[in-house]
Symmetry: D2
Subunit: 483 residues, 4 copies
Amino acid sequence: MQEFTKFPTKTGRRSLSRSISQSSTDSYSSAASYTDSSDDEVSPREKQQTNSKGSSNFCVKNIKQAEFGRREIEIAEQDMSALISLRKRAQGEKPLAGAKIVGCTHITAQTAVLIETLCALGAQCRWSACNIYSTQNEVAAALAEAGVAVFAWKGESEDDFWWCIDRCVNVDGWQANMILDDGGDLTHWVYKKYPNVFKKIRGIVEESVTGVHRLYQLSKAGKLCVPAMNVNDSVTKQKFDNLYCCRESILDGLKRTTDVMFGGKQVVVCGYGEVGKGCCAALKALGAIVYVTEIDPICALQACMDGFRVVKLSEVIRQVDVVITCTGNKNVVTREHLDRMKNSCIVCNMGHSNTEIDVTSLRTPELTWERVRSQVDHVIWPDGKRVVLLAEGRLLNLSCSTVPTFVLSITATTQALALIELYNAPEGRYKQDVYLLPKKMDEYVASLHLPSFDAHLTELTDDQAKYLGLNKNGPFKPNYYRY
Amino acid sequence: MQEFTKFPTKTGRRSLSRSISQSSTDSYSSAASYTDSSDDEVSPREKQQTNSKGSSNFCVKNIKQAEFGRREIEIAEQDMSALISLRKRAQGEKPLAGAKIVGCTHITAQTAVLIETLCALGAQCRWSACNIYSTQNEVAAALAEAGVAVFAWKGESEDDFWWCIDRCVNVDGWQANMILDDGGDLTHWVYKKYPNVFKKIRGIVEESVTGVHRLYQLSKAGKLCVPAMNVNDSVTKQKFDNLYCCRESILDGLKRTTDVMFGGKQVVVCGYGEVGKGCCAALKALGAIVYVTEIDPICALQACMDGFRVVKLSEVIRQVDVVITCTGNKNVVTREHLDRMKNSCIVCNMGHSNTEIDVTSLRTPELTWERVRSQVDHVIWPDGKRVVLLAEGRLLNLSCSTVPTFVLSITATTQALALIELYNAPEGRYKQDVYLLPKKMDEYVASLHLPSFDAHLTELTDDQAKYLGLNKNGPFKPNYYRY
Amino acid sequence: MQEFTKFPTKTGRRSLSRSISQSSTDSYSSAASYTDSSDDEVSPREKQQTNSKGSSNFCVKNIKQAEFGRREIEIAEQDMSALISLRKRAQGEKPLAGAKIVGCTHITAQTAVLIETLCALGAQCRWSACNIYSTQNEVAAALAEAGVAVFAWKGESEDDFWWCIDRCVNVDGWQANMILDDGGDLTHWVYKKYPNVFKKIRGIVEESVTGVHRLYQLSKAGKLCVPAMNVNDSVTKQKFDNLYCCRESILDGLKRTTDVMFGGKQVVVCGYGEVGKGCCAALKALGAIVYVTEIDPICALQACMDGFRVVKLSEVIRQVDVVITCTGNKNVVTREHLDRMKNSCIVCNMGHSNTEIDVTSLRTPELTWERVRSQVDHVIWPDGKRVVLLAEGRLLNLSCSTVPTFVLSITATTQALALIELYNAPEGRYKQDVYLLPKKMDEYVASLHLPSFDAHLTELTDDQAKYLGLNKNGPFKPNYYRY
Amino acid sequence: MQEFTKFPTKTGRRSLSRSISQSSTDSYSSAASYTDSSDDEVSPREKQQTNSKGSSNFCVKNIKQAEFGRREIEIAEQDMSALISLRKRAQGEKPLAGAKIVGCTHITAQTAVLIETLCALGAQCRWSACNIYSTQNEVAAALAEAGVAVFAWKGESEDDFWWCIDRCVNVDGWQANMILDDGGDLTHWVYKKYPNVFKKIRGIVEESVTGVHRLYQLSKAGKLCVPAMNVNDSVTKQKFDNLYCCRESILDGLKRTTDVMFGGKQVVVCGYGEVGKGCCAALKALGAIVYVTEIDPICALQACMDGFRVVKLSEVIRQVDVVITCTGNKNVVTREHLDRMKNSCIVCNMGHSNTEIDVTSLRTPELTWERVRSQVDHVIWPDGKRVVLLAEGRLLNLSCSTVPTFVLSITATTQALALIELYNAPEGRYKQDVYLLPKKMDEYVASLHLPSFDAHLTELTDDQAKYLGLNKNGPFKPNYYRY
């Protein structure tokens, strides 16, 4: 169990911060703005609450907020038609009949739509939160009122956090046979406390980078005792989370924090992977002059072809108005770079964690920090020069913009299909290993989202399918296809 | 005086709403977030306040906020280098020495930079606010502390509004010889109450559509008794306020209110003038499919060439996800259109006022209005369909996004130059008429802003200037040039 | 007549080169490829030819080519539906009944569609060529066969050129009452030889920059004795000829001559007017990195906002792969610049004439010229460096690409409407001056081209028209509107 | 040997047509325009020719053209700096010393640069042409003059074709140990005629889709007796050949054939793979309205996000102006679709062969074919409707535009590196199988091309490399990375 002995901290993990954004932008998130965590200082663990059907099989902040939470869920359903469509298509056959799913994810209107979809497909669910801050209390209340065994509230202590997980797993007369995890904490808990549960588990579905990383380590070490599905690396999720979503959120994050005008600004983007490609395309389109830094010559050549000058950071650091990191690396922007930036230069990070900008190097006595807005610091040099640091170097898009429901819909649909696949797979199809979602199911996720765009797929004729050597229903591409 | 007898209402005028945006987006505007209008219910008119030099020649909310306001002004100065540069270039010769300017504009950090520039160039200034809500109290305090006779606070009553204006004009031993107006209220007051003042006035500089419209009416009626400069229609101001600024603010306004994902969305933009061109370009660049409606065949042909299908609104109203108006017209989106929109369709206005969408038609008993966020209403049809109405049909970019300081810098620089031009013009250059800024000065405004972009102009050789028949210092284009 | 004493040379004039392009790209122009000018060395002036109806009222290369020319005209008609539509709309009323038009333009399939449209509207026409090389002989034959009095062939001598014009004007029993000119040669001839003809002339329609320039000079000098219409500066013509057409032809011209790959190339565009804007947009879109030089600060600021670095040519001349001039100025690219260019740098001109690049400075003994393809020279420095000069500095888009029929359709329709307007204008509407096409007719030209794009205009309601103070049928914009 | 019994036809294979384009666009290709194949009807096989060093170890059209061919090679070298740089870097160590390479590729200035690079690195080469039309005779002469044993000329008969290959392989006292093939014909001949040669062969490098396909079939059948390197599927080659190259050549091909204006045109692109993505991006950027058809929901969702409506072909076939196929499929455009197209609709293919458009269905008596230009046919329906068919449905970019030297440089460099890798690989690294180029070498190819763009790579610090778990010199990405 060595892989799980390093107790995870509750901050800085991509998986949770990714989804936490919905509630972290307080004043604009509809749900969060109604969430009142200060009214009542009694811990939910000490309250006696009952839903309208008389059940007490849950623990939430305030069951009376259920009606409001229900409306939030309904609004989310409007943008998650793929999941609703999945409900309808699969409802007759109940592909999850008999499934007992224990889940640990953010608890928001969007995940509520997922949970209720799983129930509609036949599953029983018990659920806790993967983050101590991100729970939307009203949504948790609505789930509890609807009969889901949910144990979560906003502002849990660390002890509360593990207590909630434990309440989901450790139940008399009910034993989980599927795990849906986001970050690996639930899986960790089961490994550590209830290893016997794995005898009945048919599979684990994991969404986060961190969680997936641990599963691969377990697998390498020969300690993974059930099949696991890595939904983080499916094509649709990757393209949406990175290229398409960041293309929009770089603009949004910069505007909300600094009101900067993009036209004519000189910007350097460090890293030309999917995130960097999205950032560059958006900024160029709005009239910024964009430079790229890269370590990989192939990505560098792509940047050239796409119309960006490829430079070393030190070549342009004196002249740029904005510096954006998205390398996945550490110390990409050093104190030396920061010293050479011009007055009012904006520095922010769109990469994988808060390591890319060496923020620690700015915590020195000669520099003054001034918090000018939420998520915006002016770091002031002795000569009066100010550098504008966003989100203290943490992820801009998570801290300062929101993730569109549509992107969350892609992820949730992928999770649902992964559960169905693992639960219904014939004996032997999956070993004790980590799997990517079969390409055909990845294609199915995509197809469920096409109606939102009124997009009409063409079908192969028999003759064409034969000519191409393909099944008419896919998969249509080899596994190594680059999209 | 007939033109001024229609008492101006305090809402719905483009001039004021345009600039009011800075403070209307409360939670993100640094200045506004510190402005505390609730702490002290005593009217400023009843307070006795004195600045550190012993002067009481002002009326603001709280003179003690001056230090904070000063910092706000200093931050604004960083993005208004054109004005600072103008200060430096013109400071030796003091081109406004002897000028006594009475002004009525929004009072924000940016206008403070303008006012202090005018003072640095030799002018004496008395100032009131053109809007009862938009004053940043700390900035007003900083101006008062610096010796400017300012009469303004946030939350004035209508009586306060005119009292403040009167205090600027009606002073013993001081008589204005220049007017800087935004909206025409100050000009109106002088016409109505102190017509003799015009004997000494060398000119009026007016920024707003409304104010300019009135000046043209006065001129037509033969009642304009001094030269007036229309700075609203200068090239740089127009391009920045409309094309370049709206290109960015349409994205910003939609994101802040709805978190909508642009990729794949079908959008119809009504009107393909400068504002429409900006909106279309930005949305197309981010992956939206954009349709255009137009009444003018030339603009329609431009839309075709730029890659947009030109349609009638009724042809696409059922299928679009977003409707944006920017026609300057009224009832462009009617109740009939609204009835046919699909569920979750977003409707907003980027045009000149709140007339473009027939919002009144939605105030009927069978429709339910639900305020889901600040500036966001869901209008719900009996069958459950929701239309998402932003800012109740008022200007999205003013209500839900901010105007970059850079754009305000263009306007302020233009105003300063117009004042210098009128004040120093030789007898007879300007008659009792409304003038556009001479092209050469328009070019000068542009040139003052080029250093921000590290842009280097090419100079004509003598030989080339002769070949082109141009003066080496401009103007470089005929008046009818279209840019 | 002083303005006309400078005898126009047959090359280097924008007006004629603009349209000559159709035939100058020999191997790809369908018509030109069939035009055989070498088969028969007898001058057309010495031939006796008769069309099938027995008429000899023409002088063309070979009347027997008429059938082939007719097919060319029919193909052109397919892309000139605006003109066909004008024929249909105006045919009943014959707005040109009684008009006797003498014309002097390029004689191509596209102008043939114009001429036959004028005939269909009631006019009698006599026609000569405005360029000694550009006539498509088969088309001239087809016009002659159809009864038009056409005098033109490919490869006229200068004497032939004036002889043809004279044959159009100097006819027993027929006197022109309208002139349609392209370049001013016909007008010049009438002024010089038959000034009395002007007594009957109702107006001149002139298309070229050169011709328009002369008309303005005549007007200034008080010598213009009939109204003239400047169709060169109408909005639609300008936007199509410059922005939209050059956006495409810069790519086309560079590819056809050099096969250069655009992606990643560094390009400097001198001049950011309409032509420069088109070139920059297209190259940026295909992955080039584009720098701009400008003398006008307003255009320079536009370039900044559009995402281009504004530099002096000398700053980037060492690093760029392509240099493009579009300033309208002379000696923009000097020998000093050429000396500093890197090996293989491509130099070309999209501006108004062959003055922008100082090609003369390259005609020195130490440099070797090598013609590597049609329109492509390698100029070789002693150290082996090669500069790739296109079209010897003449207009790239005219020399090395083609003008789409659609653009020619805009021009031809504008000419037709200008003739109708002048011919039917009530006494006194037009004086002896040069006029721009009324905006309403400019709008009408645009509207005739919208059906090609299946574009649907919106009509104002009575109420809206009243609100805007507009006539429902236009004009929709003030004259100074910038589009 | 069954896989090779189907004798390959000389047309319709992607491999050869891909590179043949250079010479297929006759009038614009510098080399081709000088190539005179008609002057001399004596077969090169019957000529006695000797180069200036007295060698007769070659067979070309005319050895006297060598000087001209040398200049063509020198010009090509200017755009193939990666290969020149490879020569310099590897020249000291002569990594191909001892290599005896038998090659069969197109023989053009670009491949000459490759061949001479191989020689400079130590190899002996014997070469024949992979296509009977594509040889540039002057270039072959220059190679022969330089001592390369080359057997090729333009216009070979099929018998000549195999005779030339045989002369390369079947030599007394010289036995090849490496094969460089393009299309598989050389490999086929050796398998069939000289199987013993494989005992000494260290490896095959194959570039074409067809050739690679056969190698995989051989491998599957257990009949591949040496290692083979598939250079067709390397990342850089794919991206350049497909995305970046087609983005430019779709515009070029359409312009050169039809002079169509892109602005406002409605275009449907069938297939949204790399080629389709390139076509769509370019056309959208130039103002076309683009629709996409797709069978794969993932690609379809990408099209949505990129701003294209995804439709079935039949939905838009009546309204579009241009139809472009790039699916790799057959009968994508059927006679039924062709019947429903509007007048003047342009139809062309950018996909893998001439199967996509059902051209055969147009060879019926009621339709008239009219060849209006080279590569352009009008197919005319009984009612007069014309469809404009380009290149008879063959590949537009190969038939009607050129492949930039820069793209050919990528391919040639990849081939050279693959030869070096296979020749120097330690025993056992490669089995009797088909391999992709190691990612590190793919990255090396890219890095050799960065200097052309003055692009500067960033190097990892030791610390960063450790953090990322990467070698500082690459490879930088896992094999499954999608770019």
